[in-house]
């Protein structure tokens, strides 16, 4: 029983990171219908920036906040400079562009900071909660930061006019323009937010998996699985899906297939969802007349 609870908590912890990655993917998907394959590498790169700042002597939380802002600006910049000229481009060109971004960020990180694995500090003390041996403060911290961020995003999207305008632009771009909303800037804001969310995921996961340029590759697959389970068009679903994938991955890994096949399991989830319920748990089935 104790082992089960430990695995469950570990699953929720990694699940919260998958939830962040999934949410970053969904943010861009709902407004553009594209999957940003570079989401993971953008997060990795932001984590390196945080690492550099902490190494330069900045306190952890200052570096944390500054990295979120830098990632936001970076996401905004990528949309404005690289993707805006491609607005009318066919989808394959965009896919190539995302893959290019992925390998550019990966190579840049390797070039600047080398491919050797680095330790990333955690702000949470390394001890158990209540000394029970079940839940560590680190795990609670990761889940807590994720939930706090989700709460802030929910408030932003539901209770601010800018958040409302972003939702409207994602739902019906033509109609949004007729309301005077600058849709193209809303997309840029979406990219900024997605990059910022990714940065948080990167900084939370780095102490666990260690920092290296390929840190996010596997995590992106889990995040993608989470987004699909929840329904790729639903931010709420993405978060739930991320947690589900995290827990399933841990339980299935420890009880049935072993740790080596965990990533395969994520891919099995992807294929399974697409075969059985392509819309996911909370996604809407889109019916088109042809």
């Amino acid at each position: 029983m104790e082992f089960f609870v430990q695995q469950l908590v570990a699953g929720l912890t990694s699940g919260s990171i998958y939830a962040c990655v999934a949410l970053g993917l969904v943010m861009i998907y709902v407004s553009t219908d594209h999957i940003n394959f570079a989401q993971g590498e953008m997060a990795m790169f932001a984590t390196y920036i945080a690492w550099a700042m902490i190494n330069a002597g900045l306190p952890y939380w200052v570096a944390f906040g500054a990295t979120i802002l830098i990632a936001f600006a970076g996401g905004l910049f990528i949309q404005r400079v690289i993707l805006k000229p491609l607005e009318a481009a066919p989808v394959l060109s965009l896919v190539v562009c995302f893959i290019a971004l992925l390998s550019i960020f990966n190579a840049l990180a390797g070039m600047i900071w080398s491919y050797t694995i680095k330790q990333f500090p955690t702000p949470f003390p390394a001890r158990d909660l209540f000394g029970s041996g079940l839940v560590s403060v680190q795990q609670i911290g990761v889940v807590g930061v994720t939930l706090l961020m989700l709460g802030l995003l929910t408030v932003f999207f539901h209770y601010t006019t800018l958040g409302l305008a972003m939702r409207a632009a994602a739902q019906n771009a033509a109609s949004a323009r007729m309301m005077g909303i600058r849709v193209s800037w809303m997309l840029a804001l979406g990219w900024g937010l997605a990059a910022a969310i990714g940065a948080v995921a990167g900084m939370l996961v780095a102490p666990i998996v260690f920092l290296d340029p390929n840190m996010m590759t596997g995590i992106l697959v889990y995040g993608f699985a989470g987004a699909l389970v929840g329904g790729i068009g639903s931010p709420f679903g993405a978060v739930i899906g991320g947690f589900i994938v995290g827990v399933l991955e841990n339980l299935v890994g420890s009880y049935i297939i072993g740790n080596e096949l965990k990533l395969t399991f994520a891919l099995v989830i992807v294929v399974g969802v697409l075969l059985v319920k392509p819309a996911g748990l909370f996604g809407r089935v889109v019916v088109r007349r042809v």
Binding site: T161, L162, L164, A165, R167, A168, Q171, N172, A174, S175, A176, R177, M178, M179, G180, I181, R182, V183
Partner: protein, 237 residues
């Protein structure tokens, strides 16, 4: 009366297909202009051309300012509100959120909230449905919401694209009564595209008849109403 919107020599294209030929049209300050004609005459295209949502050239002047090069969003922010064909509802937002969207562009939040009360007073049905997802509204209610959203922008000119389309006669009546009130009480000018010519002629003071992308006749609406030959040829009644 002064001209609020002047369209001079405007042509428009969908890809290679030309939809408008050197169109000239004027909407007076506070006036109601109707754009009539058969399917494919270019009525909707004219509205889309005004807010720059279709490839076009020529000159558009809004109260003396050239808006030909402006983006859709900018034209809308200058006071040209479109009530789009198909109603353009944000189906995933609530009725209230659909209206609140205008707060994004309004300078005065207080004035915008007053306008929201006014919309609810004009369409009590929308107040009842305030918290409901807009996608669950009936066609008539969605049309009311589209008019409401346009009003929330505090426009000088409303572009209405077939407000009666697919609605029950009683609902059409209600919507047109409200449109008449908006025009007389708030001095909002209107350019209205309608299939239902008789209905549009009641509201409009000026009429333009379009055929295959060209203006074939224009004048005060009484003139068109009383010209039997014109009516028979273009309006079918």
């Amino acid at each position: 009366m002064a001209a609020l919107l002047e369209i001079r020599g405007v042509s428009a294209w969908y890809g290679m297909i030309r939809a408008l030929y050197d169109l000239n049209l004027t909407v007076e300050e506070g006036g109601v202009t109707a754009l009539l004609g058969a399917n494919g005459a270019g009525k909707t295209t004219t509205l889309r051309a005004i807010i720059n949502m279709v490839r076009r050239n020529g000159t558009m002047v809004l109260s003396g300012d050239d808006i030909s090069k402006c983006a859709t969003e900018t034209i809308v922010r200058r006071g040209v509100a479109q009530v789009p064909e198909g109603r353009g509802t944000f189906v995933g937002l609530t009725v209230e959120e659909n209206l609140r969207l205008a707060l994004h562009t309004r300078r005065s939040r207080a004035a915008a909230l007053r306008d929201m009360e006014m919309v609810y007073d004009l369409f009590p049905r929308l107040r009842e449905r305030q918290k409901q997802q807009a996608g669950t509204l009936s066609g008539g209610e969605q049309q009311m919401l589209a008019v409401g959203r346009a009003l929330m922008l505090s426009p000088r000119l409303m572009l209405l694209d077939e407000p009666s389309f697919g609605l029950a006669p009683l609902v059409v009546r209600e919507i047109f009564q409200v449109l008449a009130r908006i025009n007389t009480e708030q001095k909002v000018a209107m350019l209205i595209v309608e299939q239902n010519a008789a209905l549009a002629l009641e509201l409009a003071d000026t009429v333009y008849l379009l055929e295959t992308g060209r203006v074939v006749a224009s004048g005060p609406s009484d003139l068109v109403r009383n010209d039997e030959a014109l009516r028979k040829a273009y309006l079918g009644y």
